[in-house]
C-alpha cells in the first residue's frame, strides 16, 4: 500500500515521464534554450553566425590556408596585380598576396576585438554591479570618474593612450579597454538598478544570503542580458576603431598585416589599383555588418517585446 502511494506521488510529480523525456521538458523550459531557438528561427542571425564562424575559423587556421611566409614575401615582378585565381584579392605595391595579408590581418583584428571586449566587460560589469548594489559615496566617485572618461570622445582617448604607451598591439588593447570600460560600467549599473528592488532579490536577502552570493547567483544572471547584446554590437565598433588607429599610423605598424594599415598603404594606389583599397574594406564591412545584425537578432531573441 505504502509503495503504491509513493509510486502515485511520483507519477503525479513528473507526470509519468520517462527520464529522457524529462530532460527534453527541462531543456524546453530553459530560458537560454528558448533564446537560442528564437535566434535560430531568425534567418539573418543564422547567416551572420555562419559568416562569423567561418571568418573566425579562417583566422585561427590561417596557416593551413596560406603559409605564413607569404605575408611578408615581396616580389617586385608581381606588384599591383589585378585579382586572379592565384591572388583572389590581387597583390599590393610590394607584390605581396593581398588575400594572405587580409587573412592574417583578421587574426590581429579578432584578437584585439575579443580581448578588449573580455577585459572591458569583466572590469566594467563588476564595477557597475558593485556600484549599483552598494551605492553611496563609492557610487558617486566611480560615476563621476566615468563621466570624465566619457567626456573624451572614444577614439581620441584611445589615440592619446596609444601615443603615450607606444604603437603596438598591447597598448592598443589597453587604450580601447580604457575607452570602453566606462560604457560597460554605466550599462551594468543601470541594469542592476532596475532589478535591485525585484522580489526575488528581496526574497534572497530575507533568506539570509550573503551579499556576494546575491550578486553572483541572483543579480548577475538577470542583469547580463543587455551587456551581452552591447558586447556583440560593440565588437564591430572596437575592431573598426582599432583599424582606424592603424590607418592613422598610431596603431599597429606596417609591415604587420592589419586591415587599417593595409588600406592606408592602398591610399597611394587609389587610381592605379582600386581593388587594393576596396577588397580589404569589403571584408571589414562583412565582418562588422555580421556582428551588428547578430547583435540585433540577439536583442530580439532575448526580449521579443522590443522587436518593432
Amino acid at each position: 500500500m505504502r509503495k503504491m502511494d509513493r509510486e502515485k506521488k511520483k507519477l503525479r510529480f513528473d507526470g509519468g515521464l520517462q527520464k529522457d523525456e524529462k530532460l527534453i521538458v527541462n531543456l524546453r523550459n530553459n530560458p537560454n534554450y528558448q533564446i537560442w531557438r528564437r535566434l535560430c528561427r531568425n534567418k539573418i542571425s543564422v547567416v551572420c553566425m555562419v559568416v562569423l564562424v567561418v571568418m573566425i575559423l579562417a583566422a585561427i587556421f590561417a596557416d593551413f590556408i596560406r603559409p605564413k611566409e607569404m605575408v611578408y614575401a615581396q616580389n617586385a615582378m608581381e606588384a599591383c596585380l589585378r585579382p586572379s585565381w592565384d591572388h583572389p584579392f590581387g597583390t599590393d605595391c610590394f607584390g605581396r598576396d593581398l588575400f594572405t595579408r587580409v587573412l592574417y590581418g583578421s587574426r590581429i583584428s579578432f584578437m584585439v576585438g575579443f580581448t578588449v571586449t573580455i577585459i572591458s566587460t569583466v572590469i566594467g560589469s563588476v564595477l557597475g554591479g558593485l556600484v549599483a548594489y552598494y551605492g553611496g559615496t563609492f557610487e558617486e566617485i566611480v560615476m563621476r570618474i566615468t563621466d570624465m572618461f566619457m567626456a573624451i570622445p572614444e577614439q581620441l582617448l584611445a589615440i592619446c593612450v596609444v601615443a603615450s604607451f607606444g604603437a603596438n598591439a598591447v597598448s592598443m588593447i589597453v587604450a580601447l579597454s580604457i575607452a570602453v570600460i566606462p560604457v560597460r560600467t554605466r550599462l551594468m549599473r543601470s541594469t542592476v538598478l532596475s532589478i535591485i528592488d525585484a522580489e526575488y532579490v528581496e526574497a534572497a536577502r530575507a533568506c539570509g544570503m550573503s551579499d556576494f552570493k546575491i550578486i553572483v547567483t541572483e543579480i548577475m544572471p538577470n542583469a547580463i542580458g543587455p551587456t551581452i547584446i552591447n558586447c556583440t554590437q560593440g565588437l564591430a565598433s572596437i575592431i573598426l576603431t582599432a583599424s582606424s588607429l592603424s590607418y592613422l599610423g598610431v596603431g599597429i605598424q606596417p609591415p604587420t598585416p592589419e586591415w587599417g594599415a593595409i588600406i592606408s598603404e592602398a591610399k597611394e594606389f587609389l587610381r592605379l589599383a582600386p581593388y587594393y583599397c576596396i577588397l580589404p574594406g569589403v571584408v571589414m564591412v562583412i565582418m562588422s555588418l555580421s556582428f551588428n545584425l547578430l547583435g540585433d537578432g540577439l536583442r530580439d531573441a532575448m526580449d521579443p517585446r522590443l522587436k518593432d
Binding site: 573624451i152 570622445p153 601615443a163 604607451f165 573598426l240 576603431t241 555588418l289
Partner: protein
C-alpha cells in the same frame, strides 16, 4: 529653467578639469626625457638641466598640472609646442575654426538625413522605400569611416571629377568630408527615428487624434514626431562623439588643416603640449554640445521643464 541651465553649466566645470587631468596624466606617462626630445641627443648636460627646469620637470606632477591649468584659465596659454617652439595656441586657433565648421555641417547633414527619412521609413513601413532605406542605413553604419572616405574620393574625385579630393580652398572641399562624418551618424539617427516613430504612431493618443479628425500630416508631425524626437535628441549627443572621431580621420584623408590632423601630426612628431591642448579643446567643444543637447531635451520635454519652473 534658468536654474537648470546654471546647474548644468556648473556641472560642466569639474568634468572639464577632470578631462584635462586625465589627458595630462596620460601624456605625462610617455617614456623618455622631454628635454632630450626637444634639444636632441647631442645636447650638453647643462642645457638639458636648464630645459628641464624651464619645463618644470623638477617639480612634482600635481604642481606642474596646477601651473598648466592656471596658465590655461588666465592666459589661454597651452605652453609652447615642442615641434615649432612657438605658442601652441597660435597653431591651434585657426584650425579650431575649420574643425568646428566641419563638425557642425556634418551634424546638420546627419540630422537632415536621419530625421526626415526616419519619419518616412516609419510612416511607410515595409514599403519599397522603407526596405531600401533600412538596408542602406544598416550597411552604412557598419562601414569603416576611413574606407568610406576613400570610396567617396574614388567615385566623386577620381572617376567622376565632380569634387576635389582634398583641401578646403573653396566650399566644395567640405562636401566629401561632410558626407564621410555625417553619413554614418545620419544613418544611426535614421534607425533610431524609425523605431521610436513606429512606437509612437501605435499609441492611443495618435488614434484619438486621428479619430477626432486631425489631418494625417498634423498627427504625424505635431503629435507623434514631438514625442519620438526625445530619444533621437539624446542620440545626437553621442553621435557628435562619433563625428569628432570621424573628423580626425576625414581631416587626415582629405588633408584638411583641422584640430584632428594637428593631433595626429603632433603624435607622430612627439609634440606632447600640442596633443594635450588639441584633445582638451575637442573635449571642451564636445562638452558644450552635450550641454546644448541636454538643454534642448529639457526645453522639449515638459517633465524636466516643470521640475525646475515650479515655484518652491
Amino acid at each position: 529653467m534658468i536654474r537648470y541651465v546654471g546647474k548644468r553649466i556648473l556641472m560642466m566645470i569639474p568634468v572639464l578639469i577632470g578631462v584635462a587631468l586625465i589627458i595630462y596624466l596620460i601624456m605625462a606617462m610617455m617614456p623618455g626625457d622631454p628635454a632630450v626630445r626637444i634639444l636632441g641627443n647631442d645636447a650638453g648636460p647643462d642645457a638639458l638641466a636648464a630645459m628641464r627646469e624651464r619645463l618644470g620637470l623638477d617639480k612634482p606632477f600635481m604642481s606642474r598640472f596646477l601651473t598648466y591649468m592656471g596658465n590655461l584659465f588666465i592666459k589661454l596659454d597651452f605652453g609652447n609646442s615642442w615641434r615649432t617652439n612657438q605658442s601652441v595656441w597660435k597653431d591651434l586657433a585657426p584650425r579650431i575654426v575649420v574643425s568646428l565648421k566641419l563638425a557642425l555641417i556634418s551634424m546638420c547633414f546627419a540630422i537632415l538625413i536621419g530625421v526626415p527619412f526616419g519619419v518616412y521609413s516609419a510612416v511607410k513601413q515595409y514599403s519599397f522605400g522603407d526596405n531600401l532605406l533600412r538596408v542602406f542605413s544598416t550597411i552604412l553604419v557598419a562601414v569603416p569611416t576611413f574606407w568610406f572616405a576613400m570610396l567617396l574620393i574614388l567615385l566623386f574625385a577620381l572617376t567622376l571629377h565632380w569634387l576635389p579630393s582634398g583641401g578646403t580652398s573653396n566650399w566644395t572641399g567640405y562636401i566629401l568630408p561632410m558626407i564621410t562624418c555625417g553619413g554614418p551618424t545620419g544613418c544611426s539617427l535614421l534607425r533610431m527615428t524609425r523605431s521610436t516613430m513606429l512606437e509612437e504612431i501605435r499609441q492611443d493618443y495618435v488614434r484619438t487624434a486621428r479619430a477626432k479628425g486631425v489631418p494625417n500630416q498634423k498627427v504625424i508631425y505635431k503629435h507623434a514626431l514631438r514625442n519620438a524626437l526625445l530619444p533621437v535628441i539624446s542620440l545626437i549627443g553621442s553621435g557628435f562623439s562619433f563625428i569628432i572621431g570621424g573628423s580626425v580621420i576625414s581631416e587626415s584623408v582629405f588633408s584638411i588643416a583641422g584640430v584632428g590632423s594637428l593631433i595626429i601630426l603632433s603624435i607622430n612628431t612627439i609634440d606632447v603640449p600640442t596633443v594635450t591642448a588639441g584633445v582638451i579643446v575637442v573635449a571642451f567643444f564636445y562638452a558644450v554640445v552635450m550641454l546644448i543637447v541636454d538643454l534642448t531635451y529639457a526645453f522639449i520635454d515638459p517633465r524636466i521643464r516643470a521640475k525646475y519652473t515650479r515655484k518652491v
